[in-house]
Each structure stands twice: as C-alpha cells, then as structure tokens.
C-alpha cells in the first residue's frame, strides 16, 4: 500500500479534523466531461494557483 493510500485509510482523529476544515476538493471532473469544471495547474509561481 502506498503512503497516500495509508493516509486515505488512516484513523487519526486529528487528521480527520484537518480534513473536515479543508477547502473544497480541486479538479475532479472526469476526462469525458472536460468542460464541466476547469483543468488544474501545478504551476506555483502565481500565489493563487491551485
């Protein structure tokens, strides 16, 4: 199991509290619905980027 998957199944209550307060999930549109929500960018030289 990868490290991210371990986080997915983690039972840490402190982690759950962090997740409850997290911002809305980014970019979840399937490829077949390309215009339903915008694509995402990993570019980090603009401070309000995803």
């Amino acid at each position: 199991m990868g490290i991210f998957q371990e986080l997915v199944s983690s039972r840490s209550e402190a982690l759950a509290e962090l997740l409850d307060a997290a911002e809305s999930p980014l970019g979840e549109q399937p490829a077949s619905e390309a215009d339903s929500s915008p694509p995402f960018s990993n570019w980090n030289s603009w401070s309000d980027s995803d």
Partner: protein, 390 residues
C-alpha cells in the same frame, strides 16, 4: 519534422492525440501574459534570463489573447495572470491599455484578472486600478527581513522595506492579497517564524515554493529532502493547533485526500491545464511559463506559435504534435502508472523536468520530492503520531 517552427513528435497521429487527451485539457483555465520583461530587482534565485531588459507588450497582443478567450467559449472564467518581469514596472496608463481589450469579457464574467507582483511599486493608484478591474493580487514576499536576504535591487540594496511598504498600501486600500514565498536552504529550518510572519501579514493564503533549479537559477544549493519534510510537518501541526494561516500546498493535499476518502475509490482524473503563456511580443509557449524566454534549441525554445498570427485555441488544438508537449504527456502517463504520490500530485511541474534532466520525458524531480512528496510524508508522520496518541 517541424510545424510552425517547432520540432514535432515522431509518433504523430492518433496515439499522440490520445496521449494528450488522457492527461491534458484542450481548454485553458489560465493564460499567463508578460506585459514587460523588465524587473528592477535582481533576486538571487530568479529564473528569468532577460529581466534587465525593458520590452513591453503591445495592445495588439492583448487583443489577440482576448479574441482567443472569446473563441474558446468555456463555461468558467479564464484567469488572465499578468506575470513578469515585474508587471507594475509598466506605466499604469500602459497597463490599462492592455486591460481594455478584456473589458467586455470581464463584464460577462468570462475573465478574471490576476497579477503577481513584488509589491515594490504599489501605490494607491495601482490599488484603484486593481479594484476597478477586479484583480486578484498576489505578492511575492519570502518572510521577515532575514528571509529576504536573497532579494535585492540592481545596486545590491535590500528590498524588504519596499515590499512591506507595498503590502501596507494594499491593506490601507482594502485590497485582499495572497502571497508566495520562496523557501531556501537558509530559511527552511525556521517554519514557525515564517508562519508567524504570514499570520501577521494579513494574507488570504500563502504558497511556499521550495527553491528550485530552473531557468537562470542553476548554481545555488538545494533544500535537503528531510528538511523539507520537517518544514511541512511544522506547518501541518501549526494548522492542527488552530493557526488561521492557509498554506496552499497543505490545503491542496488535504483537498486531494478528502476527495480520495470521500470516494473510497480511484478518484476521477482531472486534466492538466495547457497554460498558454504569451510573451511581450506574442510568442506563445505551453505547459509552463518558465519556458518563456528559455533557450532550448532542441525544442525551438518551446515556442509553439505567435498569438498575433494564430489563436491560442488553434495552438492548443495541435499541441500534441509538438515534441515537448508529447514528451510531457508521456511522462504524465509514467507518473500515473508508477508513482505512489500521483493521486496527491497529478504530475508535478513541467519546467523542472527539463531544467533538471534536459528532457520532458523525465518524471521525478527535486520539485516532486520537496513540494509534492514531502508534504505527504509530513502528513503521514502527523497521522501516525496522532493515531498513536488516540
């Protein structure tokens, strides 16, 4: 084989198009515009090679970009990011002339202006322009004065006081702002002091960029990976303890994780923005603004075309034919199939592949390790430690 001057993939046709469409969008959510090449400052880590030269964008280029956005006709607003050089080194009246072609689109809710500035030239007049045109403002500030030691003007003088004066002006004028801070080997060991500074600054949110080797910045030491993990863990613990500071990388990771936990299955794959970046003269690169102005003869400097002669939509439509774009699509496929961090990362930064490895076929970079993997490792440590306590 070449088209429009750009080397093209030898595996043309349906395969390249399919690879592109599996990972990259044919529509852009962000267009980066370079109103001027000039920056009056000379920071140690800057990746811009031509920042001492004053070359300014003409309104014809802005008009062509606006026409492309109209032609794309996406449902969501396109973020037009004015990025330099230092955008505010353009005269205010000249900047306003570049904004004019977008006004109809903006009134229709189809454009959102954004600017990334070092804040040194911000005045109440600039703030009035930001408000009038509905700008989202980003400020580049690395922390307290000791954290800005690598930032100076061309005479070698510290610029920290000028940054803080600009931030004060933003606050006095009621202009909300986000921030990005470069974290260097010299500052990565002081996360709490950095966080406290940004909590006090009044920023909506901060993005911490672990210093990278890219563009013209190739000679400085890199941040140690374990130091990066400790840095992110300190920020996560601070957030857990009630800090109001929203850190871009932490929020992004938490959002990805929340989505994965909610679905309890493989999350749907979002598509990567092609991010057309339009230089002062209309020359356009895709995938990474850092490619603009980069000398890369094997890729004809990454220039796909010129918006003065071809709409951005047309360039994106044929983007899979460019060798460097196809290489990136191939590397994203490798990331998706081989990297345990892919669900939280979605493929890392494009330009780092080239600056570190000389090819976009490469996958893992120092950016991946310090800015995508290290936060996951830090959150994993946090979760393990808090699980043991509960």
């Amino acid at each position: 084989m070449r088209t429009q001057g750009v080397p093209v993939s030898e595996e043309l046709g349906a395969d390249a198009a399919a690879r592109y469409d599996s990972f990259l969008s044919r529509r852009f959510h962000m267009a980066v515009l370079q109103p001027t090449t000039l920056c009056p400052w000379d920071c140690d880590y800057c990746y811009l090679a031509d920042r001492e030269q004053r070359r300014e964008m003409s309104p014809h280029v802005a008009e062509a970009v606006a026409a492309s956005i109209r032609a794309q006709g996406s449902r969501w607003p396109v973020r037009v990011v004015w990025h330099g050089g230092e955008p505010l080194s353009l005269p205010l009246s000249g900047f306003e002339r570049l904004l004019s072609p977008f006004e109809t689109l903006r009134s229709e809710g189809r454009v959102q202006h954004c600017v990334q500035t070092n804040a040194g030239l911000i005045t109440p007049e600039w703030c009035a322009l930001f408000e009038r045109f509905g700008f989202s403002v980003g400020v580049s500030v690395d922390g307290p004065e000791w954290a800005n030691a690598g930032r100076h003007d061309r005479s070698g003088r510290s610029v920290h006081d000028r940054i803080m004066r600009g931030v004060r002006t933003l606050r006095e004028c009621g202009v909300p702002f986000t921030t990005i801070a470069v974290v260097t080997p010299e500052t990565v060991g002081r996360p709490h002091e950095l966080a406290a500074f940004f909590e006090e600054l009044g920023t909506v949110r901060v993005g911490f960029n672990i210093e990278e080797r890219e563009g013209a910045n190739t000679g400085r030491p890199v941040v140690d990976e374990e130091a990066a993990v400790a840095f992110w863990r300190a920020l996560i613990e601070r957030r857990s303890a009630g800090s109001p500071l929203r850190v871009r990388e932490v929020e992004r990771l938490l959002s990805s994780l929340r989505a994965a936990r909610d679905h309890r299955e493989e999350p749907a794959s979002p598509l990567c923005d092609p991010v057309p970046t339009v230089a002062w003269n209309g020359e356009t690169v895709l995938l990474s603004p850092e490619f603009s102005g980069t000398r890369a003869p094997e890729y004809d400097d990454f220039v796909l075309g010129n918006v003065l002669t071809e709409p951005l939509t047309a360039m994106v439509a044929r983007a899979h034919e460019a060798a460097y774009v196809d290489e990136f699509a191939r590397s994203l496929r490798s990331c998706a199939h081989t990297c345990e961090f892919y669900a939280a990362c979605r493929g890392g930064q494009t330009s780092n592949r080239y600056s570190e490895h000389g090819t976009l076929l490469a996958t893992e970079t120092a950016f991946c390790r310090a800015t995508r993997q290290a936060p996951v490792r830090a959150l994993h440590q946090f979760a393990a430690a808090t699980t043991e306590r509960t």
